[in-house]
């Protein structure tokens, strides 16, 4: 098995190389087959790893030492423990379904082979990120997924605004990456190593100033903020919807944006030692969750709503991390990967059927034309809203139970508010899109069709997963066996025979847990039903952005955050650049260089007059020179 582990990331890399180099010559079927097939291979190997780890503990493979400088030894090594293998299953599993879906979705695109090459490269980088056994490997993967995200957001680069969205994502991620990099430097300075095994072994013994661990945690979290779109670095994610929809599903919902959650969960030992950093994460997570949900209420682009929903759900994951519920966060990552990938892909199916239309005001009544898409979208909506016994119900309620136990009732109430808002914007999206009468143009109505099986099959698989995903970590009081399977799995022995994520049992009365669960569930149900009456019965349609007033206007304009950033950072940077351009470049540097040139030229112009071609003149000069020489010799 150990020799096969490196093949898990390298299979998609091989797919990338084949599709990238020869994709143009290959047929579309062959490209799709290579792209999906390599991922299926990785998925099978990941499942094999999963089986072995349960029996014999983590697998460590060191391929070679690629950096050995004065005490800094970094190997190209893989660590497959319970946490990594779980992420690998999500990445390859959901990734495989999305690859299959893309075969149908991208079928008419000229860049078909390029798309699959990028997707495979992304999966390779993402697997490197979660499988690396040190921070340097994580950083490689981190940068790799950032690059692929950039390439895929700007996939339709002919459109200028898409290219700008790609650059925005790239630059905002760079800000976060700086934090991650600084955090790595500080880790190396403190622990003398970048290896997880060495760092976590030293962790209980180390004696450092109390601020150091907090600083490390904060810096790593800055990296997570960028990658996982948390306040203040979240504005790139909604713009990232410029990419093709499978990209939004894979990168900007299911996998890449959860890299920050993985990072914090991986370093749970560090975060457990820093109360301040954990609290900070919880505050940021909860704020992001509510703000993004509020913005999501008034968006009319089907993908933008889902994007803000993703930001909001990521916020909930960080809330869980901040509350010390690392397993719960990964649990929500898992269920979120299922239902958000499902929602995005279903949205893609809608866009495909509508011939590129993304504005929900021009949709309506799609229920009849696209029955499969409608049903899976309904399941996704119910799952994310916390409809009883669907996957989102369990993961969310676990987050809120921990929030109540560690934060208190106010934290819990704010979290419940965010969950209720989720139900509001999701049901609005569902009813406006699929119920009522069709509001698009006549051609669109004519074009409207259900997507082919290659697209609907992954949807159905994801729908099943969204329904049953909650069984992975049933609360202990639900009575099905021991419950909390995932928590016990993560509690198994990992590196240095320490649990990967220590068990963190809830100390709440069972009746209280039932009660908390009941409140959020009833709220979600009221919203789901109430919205039906608002949007379906009274045909209450979203109005144009310009017609919004008051709070709605604020939400529709995303709290003007883009404008504020534009004013504070973009414009001031531009002004500084212009000043530097004018004074330093044009005035000082160009002035110096051109001045030297001009000086030489003008001196030359004076000397040129001597060279006038008149022989007598030269002769006089020669004689005068000779006389002068003689005179200097004698005088």
């Amino acid at each position: 098995m150990n020799t096969l582990v490196p093949f898990i990331p390298f299979l998609p890399l091989i797919g990338f190389i084949i599709n990238g180099l020869f994709g143009k010559q290959l047929s579309k079927n062959a490209v799709g087959l290579i792209g999906s097939g390599t991922l299926l291979g990785s998925l099978i190997l990941s499942v094999a790893c999963f089986n072995q780890i349960g029996a014999s503990g983590p697998i460590q493979v060191n391929l070679y030492q690629f950096l050995a400088v004065d005490g800094l030894n970094v190997g190209f090594g893989f660590l497959v423990d319970q946490l990594s293998v779980w992420m690998m299953l999500i990445i390859t599993g959901v990734g495989f379904l999305i690859h299959v879906y893309s075969v149908g979705y991208m079928h008419d695109d000229d860049g078909f082979y390029k798309f699959f090459a990028y997707l495979n490269l992304f999966v390779f980088s993402m697997l490197l990120l979660v499988m690396g056994d040190n921070f340097m490997m994580l950083f490689f993967g981190w940068e790799g997924v950032g690059l692929c995200s950039y390439l895929l957001i700007g996939f339709w680069y002919e459109n200028r605004s898409y290219g700008e969205a790609a650059r925005k994502a790239f630059i905002m991620n760079r800000i976060g990456d700086l934090g991650l990099l600084l955090g790595m430097f500080l880790i190396y300075q403190t622990f003398g190593s970048l290896n997880y095994a060495e760092i976590f072994a030293k962790l209980p013994l180390i004696r450092v100033e109390p601020g150091v661990i907090t600083t490390i945690c904060m810096l790593l979290f800055v990296g997570a903020m960028g990658k996982s779109a948390q306040i203040p670095l979240y504005t790139w994610l909604p713009d990232a919807m410029a990419g093709p929809t499978p990209v939004s599903a894979l990168i900007h919902a299911a996998t890449m944006v959860t890299a920050g959650v993985y990072l914090v969960a991986r370093c749970n030992g560090l975060y457990a030692m820093s109360h301040e950093a954990s609290e900070f994460i919880a505050v940021i997570g909860l704020t992001t969750s509510i703000v993004a949900a509020l913005i999501g209420l008034r968006q009319n682009d089907i993908k933008k709503v889902l994007a803000y929903s993703t930001v909001s759900q990521l916020g909930l994951m960080f809330l869980a991390l901040g509350m010390g519920a690392y397993t719960t966060a990964i649990f929500h990552v898992t269920t979120h990967a299922f239902f958000k990938a499902l929602l995005f892909l279903a949205a893609g199916s809608v866009i495909h059927g509508m011939g590129g239309e993304q504005d929900i005001r021009n949709m309506g009544g799609l229920r009849k034309a696209m029955p499969i898409t409608f049903w899976v979208f309904l399941i996704g909506t119910f799952a994310i809203s916390g409809f009883p016994f669907l996957s989102g119900f369990f993961s969310k309620d676990e987050i809120f139970a921990y929030t109540y136990a560690h934060g208190g009732i106010i934290w819990w109430a704010l979290g419940a508010l965010s969950a209720t808002l989720t139900a509001v914007y999701m049901s609005r999206l569902l009813y406006v899109t699929f119920f009522g009468d069709f509001r698009g143009t006549h051609e669109q109505e004519h074009h409207l069709h259900e997507s082919p099986l290659v697209m609907t099959a992954p949807l159905m698989v994801l729908a099943v997963l969204s329904v049953v995903g909650g069984l992975l970590n049933l609360p202990h009081f639900m009575g099905l066996g021991e419950g909390e399977w995932l928590a016990h799995w993560f509690g198994g022995n990992g590196l240095n025979n320490m649990p990967v994520v220590p068990l963190n049992p809830l100390h709440l009365e069972e009746s209280l847990e039932w009660g908390l669960m009941a409140i959020t569930t009833v709220l979600a149900l009221i919203v789901l039903l109430g919205s039906y009456f608002i949007y379906q019965r009274s045909k209450n349609l979203p109005v144009a952005d310009e017609a919004q007033v008051g709070l709605s206007k604020l939400f529709a304009h995303k709290f003007y955050v883009d404008e504020i950033y534009n004013f504070l950072f973009v414009r001031s940077t531009e002004k500084l650049s212009k000043l530097l351009h004018y004074y330093v470049d044009v005035w000082a540097l160009d002035g110096l260089v051109n001045g030297v040139g001009k000086g030489v030229q003008s001196v030359g112009a004076q000397f040129r007059k001597l060279q006038n071609g008149n022989i007598e003149y030269y002769l006089i000069g020669m004689v005068a020179g000779a006389i002068l020489l003689v005179l200097t010799m004698f005088l």
């Binding site: 071609g613 002769l619 004689v623």
Partner: protein, 106 residues
């Protein structure tokens, strides 16, 4: 014969060759006719030759006279080439005025 030559003081030779040299220099500077200019150059060379020969005799050292032969050979070659160029110029311009060389400036 040697006595006759030595009966003239060396100073006189120096004066004579200096005067001849200066005449040559002024001729080169003032005259515009290329033939006259060439002749003036010959005059300067021969002024130097005279001085070399005179000193050679007074110092009883043959090297100066060898030098004179060298200069005469070079002068002959120079005159041949210079006159050749001049003939070509004359054929093209019907003039031997050296100021015509201004015109090939550009």
């Amino acid at each position: 014969m040697l006595e006759i030559i030595k009966s003239v003081p060396i100073d006189y030779y120096v004066y004579l060759s200096s005067i001849l040299f200066c005449i040559g220099v002024f001729g080169v500077l003032i005259r515009r006719n290329a033939i006259v200019v060439l002749m003036c150059i010959e005059l300067m060379l021969n002024a130097v030759n005279l001085l070399l020969a005179a000193f050679s005799t007074y110092l009883s050292d043959g090297q100066g006279q060898i030098m004179v032969f060298f200069i005469m050979v070079v002068a002959a070659a120079e005159a041949a080439v210079g006159l050749g160029i001049l003939v070509m110029i004359y054929r093209n311009t019907k003039s031997t005025d050296i100021s015509f060389l201004d015109k090939i400036r550009n």
